[in-house]
């Protein structure tokens, strides 16, 4: 088997995104790295099935996603992150650009059903089109849209962003504006 340099470079370039997707899916660094490794191995083993010039990332994400669900079906549970263990593995915490706390968001994302989480990640984080996300997940475009919307709504509920506390008028302003 020979991999041409351009394809090899494309595979290498996909690793950070694959890993980010895997970490977000599993909420676990070790599982994520296992998934990425297995994805690369499987892709390499079946590289002859990949049609040059088509969307390599979509192909790789499909493999990773299917491996994740295969494992998930076997485990039937999500791995909880021991408190602090996850944070300790981060190189540094990201700059906070909102009132949301990084850990709160990560925890909330982990509470989403896997199908909603992957749809949200593919479209909202990875920037894929609904069509590509639908192909990766093997469902209709409308299903992906629904899952993204549900995921978004559920995150808002978990993070209590649907009551106007985090944005908009504060309590004093609301009291002033409230009808007498």
């Amino acid at each position: 088997m020979t991999i041409e340099p351009a394809l090899r470079d494309a595979l290498l370039a996909a690793v950070p995104s694959l890993r980010a997707f895997a970490i977000s899916l599993t909420n676990d660094f070790n599982r994520a790295d296992d998934l990425v490794q297995d994805t690369l191995v499987r892709a390499l083993a079946h590289i002859d099935r990949f049609e040059r010039g088509t969307n390599l990332n979509a192909w790789l994400f499909t493999i990773l996603r299917n491996l994740f669900h295969s494992e998930y079906r076997k485990r039937r549970r999500e791995v909880d992150d021991p408190e602090g263990a996850y944070a300790g593995r981060l190189k540094a915490h990201p700059e906070q650009q909102s009132h949301l706390d990084f850990e709160d968001f990560r925890s909330a994302l982990a509470k989403l059903p896997p199908d909603q989480r992957e749809a949200l990640l593919l479209v909202g984080a990875e920037g894929m089109s609904y069509e590509d996300a639908a192909n990766i997940c093997g469902v209709a475009v409308g299903t992906i849209k629904s899952r993204v919307n549900r995921a978004r709504a559920r995150l808002g509920q978990i993070l209590q962003l649907d009551d106007g506390d985090e944005i908009g008028p504060d309590g004093v302003t609301k009291a002033v504006l409230a009808p007498k």
């Binding site: 088997m1 020979t2 991999i3 041409e4 595979l11 950070p16 995104s17 890993r19 970490i23 977000s24 490794q37 297995d38 690369l40 191995v41 499987r42 892709a43 390499l44 083993a45 079946h46 099935r49 088509t54 969307n55 979509a58 192909w59 499909t62 493999i63 299917n66 491996l67 669900h69 981060l90 190189k91 990201p94 650009q97 909102s98 949301l100 990084f102 968001f105 990560r106 949200l120 990640l121 479209v123 909202g124 984080a125 990875e126 990766i136 093997g138 209709a140 409308g142 849209k145 629904s146 919307n149 549900r150 978004r152 962003l161 649907d162 009551d163 944005i167 908009g168 008028p169 609301k174």
Partner: protein
């Protein structure tokens, strides 16, 4: 509720063609996040159960919908979630790649020049991956 309906029963694909995301939440793939009703719409959120009939308009003015259900805030919340999601994801992308993946990646490079070694490595690692994983699904070409 079917899977293809949204939380409030709306099909997201039924958004009015004029609906545009709030400028503050415009993002790559903005259609994902800009799903709220257009800001140029009625003062009462579209689809709201409180949408008044003609006789109820005075009541609606005296008791306007609660602020949290205002579509602009909804879009702002969506934008906040989207920004946080992308921030988290970018942060993960920037994390250093562990050695074992780097070694695999380096082997990919070596494989291009040495097929024999490549096959051995794939088989060994492939056994770790298990044989019951599904195939690569709908994008096989």
């Amino acid at each position: 509720m079917t899977e293809d309906s949204t939380e409030d029963g709306r099909d997201p694909s039924d958004e009015p063609p004029g609906a545009k995301p709030h400028p503050d939440v415009a993002t790559p793939g903005a259609e994902t996040w800009g799903t709220g009703p257009s800001g140029a719409g009625p003062s009462v959120p579209a689809g709201s159960a409180e949408a008044p009939g003609a006789g109820a308009s005075n009541v609606a003015r005296l008791h306007p919908p609660r602020i949290p259900h205002h579509p602009t805030l909804d879009r702002a919340v969506q934008g906040m979630i989207g920004a946080q999601l992308r921030s988290m994801y970018e942060h993960y992308i920037e994390q250093p790649i562990p050695d074992r993946l780097l070694e695999l990646v380096q082997r990919l490079g070596a494989d291009a020049a040495s097929d024999t070694q490549d096959d051995r490595g794939v088989q060994r690692l492939g056994a770790d991956a298990g044989n019951d994983a599904p195939d690569d699904g709908g994008v096989e070409r």
